[in-house]
């Protein structure tokens, strides 16, 4: 379980996270939505201590991650996979080398075992044919999938997704959504997803939370979220042409 305990984060005199407290259960797909600049990615980065809170704490299964250092932090981070918005693939390595990197650097697996594991995850994200291509030679959607393959190659318990569908066409976006659901259902992976894409959020999320000015103004199941009276949440939904009536008629959410 991931727990945020009264987390405050100030950056350059601005309060980005304002006394944020919430919990994410094991095996849950927790989706954070909200306008740009409200602290969604900052929240995600606190979970793996890429940022440290100004005050408050972040816990993982009763162990504080926000003050962890050295080997303890390394051990905690081993439980995570992280899909960055940009993919963050290393430009001088092929797709397969990028995916194999954490295995070469942090495990004692033999090269043939690594190759087999890499092949498996690349097939899972439908990129087996692009294994020997450089990141610059493949499309944005393929880069995202390659980055996802790298994030899951060590079989993490928790995967954090930062804007997994941004900049992608609807078909590729739904492919990424299905992958997130597959990892959750079949492998029991806990997922925290940051997105602007409400179609995606309502389709995959077990719970959806709306971050506004560093605080959650709405949090609930997709059904509860769509039915919310919260003006910020309603405005966000309507901006993407999702109304309580229209969305449910189309049957887009669980």
């Amino acid at each position: 379980m991931i727990t945020f305990d009264h987390v405050v984060k100030r950056l350059g005199g601005r309060t980005v996270l304002d006394d944020l407290s919430f919990e994410i259960a094991k095996g849950e797909i927790f989706v954070i939505v909200g306008p740009s600049g409200t602290g969604k990615s900052v929240t995600l980065k606190h979970i793996v201590q890429l940022l440290q809170p100004t005050s408050g704490a972040v816990w993982l299964d009763g162990e504080q991650i926000s003050n962890a250092t050295g080997e303890r932090l390394e051990r905690l981070r081993e439980r995570f996979g992280y899909l960055f918005q940009s993919g963050a693939l290393l430009g001088w390595m092929t797709v397969a080398e990028n995916v194999a990197l954490p295995l070469y650097e942090k495990t004692t697996l033999a090269p043939d075992e690594i190759a087999q594991r890499v092949q498996e995850v690349l097939q899972m994200v439908d990129l087996a044919d692009a294994a020997e291509q450089m990141p610059a030679e493949i499309s944005g959607g393929m880069q995202k999938r390659a980055a996802l393959a790298r994030a899951i190659v060590r079989r993490p318990e928790i995967v954090l997704y930062d804007e997994p569908t941004s900049g992608l066409d609807p078909v590729t976006s739904r492919t990424i959504d299905r992958l997130i659901q597959h990892l959750n259902k079949d492998l029991g992976v806990t997922s925290v997803v940051v997105t602007h894409d409400m179609q995606s959020a309502l389709s995959i999320g077990h719970r959806v939370a709306m971050l506004h000015r560093g605080r959650f103004v709405e949090i609930g199941t997709p059904r509860e979220f769509v039915a919310s009276r919260c003006p910020e949440a309603q405005q966000f939904l309507e901006a993407q042409y999702i109304t309580r009536r229209g969305f449910w008629q189309e049957g887009g959410a669980r």
Partner: protein, 270 residues
């Protein structure tokens, strides 16, 4: 996480308080850069791994072969300029036969490591800051951290080792090329015979001058690697931030080369 978070000035801070905070931030960054350098040095045993060894060889190629043409041209022309300017003065006293000594001692003690340092800071250091800076703003460094791969050991150690090894070698090469350039001017314009030029150059060269020059170059190499990688790792705010980090890396390296060069000379010669 290796980040440079913006300074959180109190809203009502006076100019004096802001200056104090900025100074504290500057000292803190100096300390962090030193710690980062120490971390990179402590990672040197990792170069025994084949994958890291390959990265090291790649950096050796970038630093050594990549900067060789520029170093050659600059060294030859610096040697020629030195020979021309000093030679004209020596000619007034009929001492132009000593031009070989003058060029050799200037190159060996100061000019070769200094020129090599400047070229490496401008060509290699700036590229390192830009590359690592781009990786930082593209979250590639954060991705390495999530994978529990130490970005300092993974990226900085091969660069630091390559610069520490190749800067002295390039400095020696610069010295030879500069002396050769001086010889061209000496023999063609000052009418000093080639054998006399070489003899004068070799007579003045002492082992101490050689090792002080090489030591200086090695220190410059280490400084360039630390400054450039630190600036890259702490780059923020996209392309503008990468540009600023690159500029800071070059300016800081230049200043450090001048300041540290003076103190090393003072240490060994006074």
């Amino acid at each position: 996480m290796i980040t440079r978070e913006p300074i959180d000035y109190p809203v009502d801070a006076s100019s004096w308080q802001r200056a104090q905070l900025a100074l504290r931030q500057g000292l803190s960054e100096l300390g962090r850069a030193a710690v980062m350098g120490a971390r990179a040095v402590s990672g040197l045993p990792s170069l025994r791994q084949p994958r890291h060894w390959t990265a090291f060889l790649r950096q050796m190629y970038v630093v050594g072969i990549g900067s060789l043409p520029v170093v050659t041209v600059v060294a030859v022309f610096i040697g020629m300029i030195l020979a021309l300017q000093i030679g004209l003065e020596l000619q007034r006293y009929n001492q132009e036969v000593r031009i070989g000594s003058a060029v050799m001692i200037s190159m060996l003690r100061e000019m070769a490591p200094f020129i090599t340092g400047l070229i490496l800071a401008a060509c290699v250091g700036s590229a390192m800051a830009a590359q690592i800076g781009t990786m930082t703003v593209n979250d590639e460094i954060a991705a390495l951290e999530i994978m529990s791969i130490d970005p300092v050991v993974f990226l900085m150690t091969p660069r630091l080792a390559a610069l520490a090894i190749l800067a002295p070698l390039l400095s020696f090469y610069t010295c030879m090329m500069g002396t050769l350039g001086g010889a061209v001017v000496g023999t063609t314009q000052l009418n000093v015979p080639w054998t006399q030029y070489v003899s004068a150059a070799l007579d003045i060269a002492r082992v101490k001058d050689l090792y002080v020059g090489l030591f200086k170059a090695m220190v410059y190499g280490l400084l360039i690697a630390i400054v450039s990688c630190y600036e890259g790792f702490t780059a923020t705010q996209g392309a503008v931030g990468v540009g600023a980090a690159t500029r800071r890396s070059v300016v800081t390296s230049f200043l450090l080369i001048l300041i540290v060069g003076y103190f090393i000379s003072r240490l060994f010669y006074f």
